[in-house]
Point group: C2
Chain length 396, copies 2
């Protein structure tokens, strides 16, 4: 008999994907260059050339048995060691090989981390606005995702709401900084305060509360932003990383879990990930991709285009009178819509071939997300269209 739980999931449609498909179809009518498609968070810059060189070199020179052999279930040992050393060098941590578990991107990392530190029925708190895929990730573990209302002033953390929701049932807190969709990076003060509260509540409740940090945008931080490494501030922390955005390799499904060496049971958490992996049929990312990524751990793609685009849009939107928090990183921006109903706002924008994603799915009504991982030239051309739209429809 078909499993009804998964069958029912088919009804849930992704607004982002629908808008992206609309943009593609519309592009066929008027030319895609005329569709200002801000829907999808797909990197717009090529991967780091050294990655490509390494893949070609290893396929040419190395033994196929070595590059395509079974990876141990926690990942290739030398790769895990290289990841630990890179993190230690860059963030002053003291990870060892045993703290690193290689995953299929951040999605894989998160779903293993959730299963490690929660059991069905436990609560996981996250903060609006948030990446909507967190909901299925958490639901299928049996834990319950609860969303703390947004700090719409700065898209840092709404601490009064957080403290109220941080009950005895909460076993993990999930943060995403720099944030999809707001682009905000949590500053030192925010993370320090978060850690203080978690330490106090661990003591009060007498159980661990893990801080799970989703960090695919960690390397996309703009000038002047204060965006420290989360695990520096809290012992019971697990970093979930993906190379999708930093190296522009989203399709290669490569990332890792890094367990804070000072976390409870730090020595077994990665091994547990291996056991979870057996059960859910994940069994490591591609061995050749692991090996190639290990050669470019301290590199990124040319990410400056995202900052150029952000500055152009931030300046233009502010000038037009939009309320918008200046992003500290990512390739997203999250301005307030010009009417209460973000869906209505985005529908009207669509008439101008401006493809904007309404905010409701991100857990905050009345905003919209722009994914500005597109050509700068198109960003420039979109600004007069945004202006015309705001003027004609909203008298701005």
């Amino acid at each position: 008999m078909i499993n009804e739980v998964y069958k029912n999931m088919l009804r849930g449609k992704s607004v982002i994907r629908e808008l992206s498909e609309y943009a593609t179809e519309r592009g066929k009518e008027i030319g895609y260059e005329n569709v200002f498609d801000y829907s999808l968070g797909n990197p717009s810059v090529p991967c780091a050339p050294d990655y490509t060189e390494e893949i070609i070199r290893m396929h040419r020179e190395d033994s196929p048995m070595d590059i395509h052999g079974y990876s141990p279930s926690l990942g290739i040992t030398a790769v895990r060691q290289a990841v630990a050393e890179s993190l230690n060098r860059r963030f002053g941590m003291d990870y060892e090989t045993k703290h690193i578990f290689m995953t299929s991107g951040a999605a894989g990392a998160l779903s293993h981390a959730f299963r490690c530190v929660t059991k069905p029925g436990d609560e996981i708190l996250t903060f609006a606005p948030f990446f909507p895929e967190y909901t299925p990730y958490v639901n299928l573990t049996g834990a319950v995702l609860k969303v703390v209302p947004a700090d719409t002033e700065n898209f840092q953390i709404n601490f009064p709401a957080f403290e109220e929701m941080l009950t005895d049932k909460v076993m993990a807190v999930l943060v995403n900084t720099p944030n999809n969709p707001s682009g905000a990076a949590y500053n030192t003060r925010t993370i320090q305060r978060l850690a203080e509260i978690l330490y106090a509540k661990q003591k009060e409740y007498g159980h661990d509360i893990f801080l799970i940090s989703d960090e695919p945008y960690r390397e996309i931080v703009f000038q002047g932003a204060d965006a420290p490494y989360v695990s520096k501030f809290y012992d019971n922390s697990i970093s979930c990383y993906s190379f999708s955005k930093s190296l522009s390799l989203p399709g290669e499904r490569i990332g890792y879990v890094a367990v804070n060496p000072r976390a409870t049971d730090a020595d077994v958490l990665a091994v547990m990930c291996g056991q979870i992996s057996r059960g859910i049929g994940h069994n490591c990312p591609s061995s050749s991709v692991q090996l190639a990524v290990a050669k470019v751990l301290d590199q990124t793609s040319d990410l400056w285009v995202y900052e150029t685009n952000m500055n152009l849009l931030y300046e233009a939107l502010s000038r037009m009178g939009f309320q918008v928090v200046k992003p500290g990183g990512t390739f997203y921006m999250f301005p307030k819509a010009l009417e209460e109903d973000a869906n209505a706002f985005c529908m009207k924008a669509k008439e101008y071939d401006l493809i904007l994603v309404p905010s409701d799915n991100f857990g905050v009504p009345g905003y919209f997300r722009m994914a500005y991982c597109i050509d700068t030239e198109k960003v420039r051309r979109s600004i007069p269209v945004l202006e015309r739209f705001a003027r004609e429809v909203y008298g701005k």
Copy 2:
């Protein structure tokens, strides 16, 4: 709090892995060439050269955005279409793109298939001897794996035992042909009879019973073996494939689910896999690996070495008086041990640097598995050692 379910899994050790690690250590003492390591099912032949060529070509010539972009959640459409066409061409099926879901090898395929057609508490039947990893794969879905005792005569199916265990609670039957560890391939008569029984029981119980076919060894079939395509015989069938063995790409984690177009809900099962995938953080195999594999779907590595090794060992073991069923495929053989306790037998063999895996974990006591995916030269050198062992210890 650490999840105790996964923490407890850490206690379960893999006998195969322990033996393999012992063999590596022993190799450091006496030279690995002197350890007759029949423990691990790791392909011993390089991947198909056209795969390597295609990886190099695409990384040199194609746009990085195209080859490393996000794969749709069911896999790259052109790849799924190519898989369907290849299966139709080779096995006379009528798969369409919508029936194919790209996975991280057979492990990924199985864990999605189980979740599609069972719910927690349902029973899944499989047949001894069986691949021990089926236990964690099934356990983590919440379903219950029950093992039908072996037909030790031929390692086909013990039908009387099967019919007795095929109760109303069974929602899926899992077969693996050619089989790990026995090497036996189910013949036409076996699969026909299996299908007849399943059709009758579906009718009697008034619910679907899915046949899930684990097929990583499908292309490793020896001369004269009758090893038909399972899904030809039964409508409610799901093929779970891996390129690990046929193309010698175990580390690349690439395979697929192929849903029989005549199955109940055939049109939604692959889409459900996509939803399951969201929840367990799998999210597609590597995009570049998908694209490269699509170019070599009808190829295999040079697999003849496995048949050469099988013939050498089968002839030698038979001559020595071992009871052994001649394999129809794979790179495994499953002879009867020379004493009742297979563990004791394998411990004694270890003294001769013969690394054999005792059968208990495969669900049959008193046998041992030999994975003869090793150099033929080593197989030849191992035969006098096997003879000496059988003579000195068991007077054979």
